[in-house]
């Protein structure tokens, strides 16, 4: 009985902490303005939509990986998966949830676009270093 209560509490709090943690990762990149080049490549002008996420992630995987980004991208990918799950289940019953998940999915796509921007400049720096050497 006691273990069951602890399990239920832990799972609920885990979800709450995980969502807040992912939102803190996303919020840190939301103020960054995308360069014209990344806007062209991703098709994201100001606000991103959840539909952009998959495409931006594919572009992201084409760039050399930055070790310091890996943790954040994996956490946000898991968060995006959770949002998709909510969208296809709970959001069908609760309409306000639909708008919230759509907005959050858009934020995830913007986070991925910012990560893409960082990876592109990282690749450029690496190339410049190789040219100098």
């Amino acid at each position: 009985m006691m273990a069951g209560i602890i399990l239920a509490c832990s799972v609920v709090l885990l979800l709450q902490f995980f969502v807040s943690y992912c939102r803190s990762l996303i919020a840190a990149s939301s103020r960054q303005v995308l360069s014209a080049e990344v806007q062209d490549v991703t098709g994201i002008q100001r606000a991103a939509s959840g539909e952009d996420y998959k495409r931006v992630m594919q572009l992201l995987q084409l760039c050399p990986e930055r070790p310091e980004d890996r943790n954040g991208i994996q956490a946000v990918s898991a968060y995006f998966g959770l949002l998709n799950f909510l969208r296809s289940t709970v959001a069908r019953i609760v309409p306000s949830m639909q708008a919230w998940t759509d907005m959050e999915r858009g934020h995830c796509a913007y986070f991925a676009a910012v990560a893409l921007e960082r990876r592109i400049s990282f690749s450029r720096d690496m190339l410049a270093q190789q040219m100098d050497a």
Binding site: A3, G4, I6, L7, C9, S10, V11, L13, L14, Q16, F17, F18, V19, S20, Y21, R23, S24, L25, A27, A28, E68, N71, G72
Partner: protein, 231 residues
Amino acid sequence: MLSPYQYAVWLVCTILEIGVVVCAVKKNAFRRYVFLNIAMIASAAISIARYQILHHYGFTSKEYHYFYYYSDFLLVITLYLALTSLYSHVFAELKAEQYVRLGTVLLLCGTALFSYAVVQQSSSRLLTRFVVELSQNLYFVGLVLTYVLWGAVLKLRETRTRLIQLILSTGVYFSLFAANFALQNLYYGRTFFEYLTPLFGCFLPLSWMYAFWRIPEETRIAPARLAVVPR
């Protein structure tokens, strides 16, 4: 015997724990978050000591089992102290540090008494059972304390991004382990998430390392944006 996967996760986790301390030193955050760094140093040292004992006595030996559970108890105590230090950061402006310390000690004593009450019926290996019970209970107490701290962060409109990320990742870590222990108690003898459980241990050093390395101390965030329920 441990599988190559478990050895690999063990090694990665130890490297990450050392990485947290290195990042904190490089970003001049070691002294500010000294208890978090002590927790990581203790965790890395215990990981190495566990490997030595495993290598010397074997996985099924009594020595390894005793060392594993007693060292886990030490680790959860250091994490508990790290959490207390996060409380001190959040309540620093209210000058409530001594109340936080008093509350922490009282809660620790209360958890110890509760754990003793649970295991006192055991006729044999009372101390070992007490240590295991107390460790498991402290994970849940840690989770509740982190949730209270998160509530305080939202209420006091704390804006330091690095501190917020440290608190949230500690909450995720405590909830993962509390849920895991609860599952083990519910279905005694069965192992859940056999491959995931070792990875849970990597989450905390990974997220702390990220917070120290990527988030400058002066970065600010509106905490109301992070609440699951809009405030």
